[in-house]
Subunit: 190 residues, 2 copies
Amino acid sequence: MSLPHILLGLLDEPASGYDLKKIFERALGHFWAAELSQIYPTLKQLERRGWLDVRTAPSEKGPSRRLYQRTDTGTQVLCEWLTDGPEVGTERLTWLAQVFLLSEIGGPGRALRFMIDLREAMAGRLAALRAVEAHWQSADPRYPDKLPDHGFYRHLTLQLGLSRMAATRDWCDDCIAQIRVRYQMPEEAA
Amino acid sequence: MSLPHILLGLLDEPASGYDLKKIFERALGHFWAAELSQIYPTLKQLERRGWLDVRTAPSEKGPSRRLYQRTDTGTQVLCEWLTDGPEVGTERLTWLAQVFLLSEIGGPGRALRFMIDLREAMAGRLAALRAVEAHWQSADPRYPDKLPDHGFYRHLTLQLGLSRMAATRDWCDDCIAQIRVRYQMPEEAA
DNA sequence: TTAGGCATGTAAGGTGTTACATGATTGC
DNA sequence: GCAATCATGTAACACCTTACATGCCTAA
């Protein structure tokens, strides 16, 4: 159970479900995805438990916005979750499972195609992350050395994301090279 | 939907649900986890669809083993899944979400404690992966340069796992150092 | 006028976890 | 005798995805 806690964590300041979805995409996209259809019911549940407060504010376009914010009880629950220590060992990297099984794809040409596509996907995600960093840098003069606490920890996760993404892209390049050598596929024949 | 495909991929050679669980722990543990209570029903489902065959073999200890193996139809389904290209963007790293929210944990002492625990967890997982590598090396004289196709791709995933795990551990060290500097916590006072 | 962004949600179904249930054998 | 390993599963619940439903406002 983590999405409720993440929402709790993000709701230090008031935000709507729709806002939260955008925060996920921008800031947490490289390690967590959440759909609106999951966010909305979860927010209601957290409100029923008394961990969030709601107020309604009119919107300029579309239906009125429901702005949620963490209560003191909510803060306590969040703090307990964090204090329980890191939750590791539940990672699920589908694309890596696919590489693991790539000998079954039906020939080195297809395996190479797969790795090239994977490399492009990683390069794209890396570019998106770099755009997030560039945007942050230009929007906040305190970036990166004088951030407040909450920015400090978020910055640490961004740094890990950037280095993991770059390392994974480089690994893809290495795999591509190894496949070409192993099956004698010169680059011009790809 | 990926677990069915992964099971299909592993069932090139006959294995029981129990065997598969151990294969998960050893070989795929760094990027996928699966419980027996999920594996057993999934295998039955795959058999009903005609993607797996079963035969029963007596066991020396405990109930008789149900040995599953991929059919030709199963191979085709697996191949289609792989040919559809890499599935990216569904990663969920709970511990990284926790770091993202670490300013709410209630003081830098606790944040430091969290990062030290995370570092230890990563170091442990890295050691486990290195043990897998060492075992493979000593058990197969073809390791690492003369492996058959199926070992070749598995080796690529192991390499990525080793480098990611080491990089993440190093990032933890870096975070720990940054927290100490930021909050003026000398190492001897930890 | 139509596509896209804003903003809310529900329903159905698939995926995954935790707890429970059974029972034999091996090693301490 | 007790715990661990072998080996199978079921049931209840929690989590997540996909598809559907509604309706306003803005810009091309």
